[in-house]
């Protein structure tokens, strides 16, 4: 009950900011339109399929969910620095109420964002079928990596620093190293090795495989994302608990 009240407050707090609303729901659609236009301008003999809608749509679904790190981190950091969180720490709310209360709205927003992105991708030629639902669920699952990242940095940094780390830095890293905007296979070498070590490329692949309905190679990609998610969430929970107990993180 307390967790749901807090989650409801958090989703209101985020969605009532028009900038957040644009980045959560509008920005992936802008990219979808722009990159589809670019795709239509690429001649078939170039054999570049990365901006084809079946590849582009899952990439943008993942890229949209990266902003959850920014939203979760900024909200937590502002709550912390404005003493709003201190007020709530004196209430009967538990650590679980707080963590779930911050996480749940991000999952709801990711589901809404991925649904809109993939449905609009239908207008650009993406097949909308039962696999679309699997892809949305997979996007919600992989978004936990970014929610955890936001909660971790939101627990230790002020909102300006969170904006830098979870906004500028993370969105760029996730964008470039996920294969959404540049052809990883074409570049190959050390760059491809780095993308294989990090979770971003695997998040896109997990969503893309879910969308294709051919689940045979899903587990290996999902496993990498899950390991990173568990690690970052564990760190976030440890740091948050220390803050809640008045200790220095």
């Amino acid at each position: 009950m307390r967790m749901l009240l807090f989650a409801k407050r958090n989703i209101k707090e985020i969605l009532r900011d028009p900038v957040n609303l644009f980045f959560s729901l509008g920005f992936p659609l802008v990219l979808l339109a722009l990159l589809s236009i670019i795709n239509s301008a690429i001649p078939p003999e170039a054999k570049n399929t990365m901006f084809q809608i079946k590849n582009l749509a899952p990439g943008l679904a993942m890229f949209g969910s990266v902003f959850m790190a920014l939203f979760a981190g900024m909200l937590l950091s502002k709550d912390r620095t404005s003493s709003f969180l201190m007020r709530l720490f004196t209430s009967p709310m538990t650590a679980t109420d707080f963590i779930l209360g911050y996480t749940l709205p991000m999952i709801v927003m990711t589901i809404a964002q991925a649904t809109i992105t993939l449905l609009v991708a239908g207008a650009f030629g993406l097949d909308i079928n039962i696999n679309t639902i699997f892809a949305i669920i997979m996007t919600a699952l992989t978004s936990l990596l970014f929610v955890g990242t936001g909660l971790f940095f939101g627990s230790i940094l002020n909102d300006k620093a969170v904006g830098g780390v979870c906004g500028a830095l993370l969105t760029n890293i996730a964008g470039w190293l996920s294969g959404v905007f540049i052809p990883i296979d074409l570049i190959g070498g050390a760059f491809k090795s780095i993308t294989n070590i990090l979770p971003f490329y695997h998040s896109v692949e997990a969503i893309r495989i879910s969308l294709s309905g051919n689940f045979s190679r899903l587990f290996s990609h999902l496993l990498v994302v899950i390991v990173y998610t568990v690690v970052i969430f564990t760190l976030a929970i440890i740091v948050f608990n220390r803050k809640m107990n008045g200790e220095k993180a």
Partner: protein
């Protein structure tokens, strides 16, 4: 009856002793002003009593519950208005009040009823649908205190509640705080001596983490041979008149 019994309460941060062996008893319904210069240990004391931080040693009983062994029970019956205005910026006044009421276990109907009642008491009834971030500083401060009271706490911590307010807003807040006297046990920290004179039943003075004096204003001025509380405070805080 005793509302708060503090026994040898100590908080250390490494080698720094923020609060040192504090002993104090506060009666139910009493408004107790905790004074001290910056860094004297007032806020650390309030943070320990409101279960925000754990003491290094010692204990305190709030309405018979220990801050060490039963903090959850204490959290149910206390509330705090922090030094900074702690409100949810993008929520309306009504939503802020209902949120806190709900977190303290009130059902939505009761929370809504109590929100309207407390808004009226604090002169916020015409601002109910306004976002908290669009309120003036004084109104935000009122909302912050109203949020602390909507849970109907038996013990209330007010940490510099009128900091940064203009004279009129301060006077209005004083009236609201005065109306709670006798019903709610209040620990108030402040740097304004006129606030202490107007509101408090007893005063405790902290210096370098220790409670150097406790008593009524008359007792403190008599003890120091001064005529004003401010002079008594300066002497008991280690200052020079």
């Amino acid at each position: 009856m005793n509302a708060i019994i503090i026994k040898e309460l100590t908080k250390k941060y490494g080698s720094v002793v923020a609060v040192n062996n504090l002993n104090l008893i506060i009666e139910q319904g009493e408004l107790f002003a905790l004074l001290g210069v910056n860094g004297a240990g007032k806020t650390t004391t309030i943070k320990m009593l409101s279960c925000l931080i754990k003491p290094t040693s010692g204990d305190a009983l709030l309405l018979d519950d220990s801050i060490i062994s039963n903090p959850h029970a204490i959290k149910e019956k206390t509330n705090i208005s922090p030094q900074e205005t702690a409100v949810a910026a993008n929520l309306s006044v009504l939503e802020n009040l209902e949120l806190i009421a709900g977190i303290y276990g009130q059902d939505s109907k009761t929370a809504n009823k109590n929100a309207y009642e407390i808004a009226q008491k604090f002169g916020l009834e015409s601002e109910l649908n306004k976002k908290a971030k669009n309120l003036s500083g004084g109104m935000q401060r009122r909302l912050s205190i109203a949020m602390a009271l909507i849970s109907e706490p038996q013990i209330l911590f007010l940490d510099e509640p009128t900091l940064g307010l203009d004279v009129l807003a301060r006077r209005e807040l004083w009236a609201s705080i005065k109306s709670l006297k006798g019903k709610v046990t209040i620990i108030l920290t402040t740097h304004y001596m006129d606030e202490v004179e107007n509101l408090s039943d007893r005063v405790g003075i902290m210096a370098k983490g220790q409670l150097t004096a406790v008593g009524t204003m008359t007792e403190l001025t008599t003890q120091t041979g001064t005529s004003k509380l401010e002079d008594a405070f300066v002497m008991l805080s280690g200052g020079v008149l």
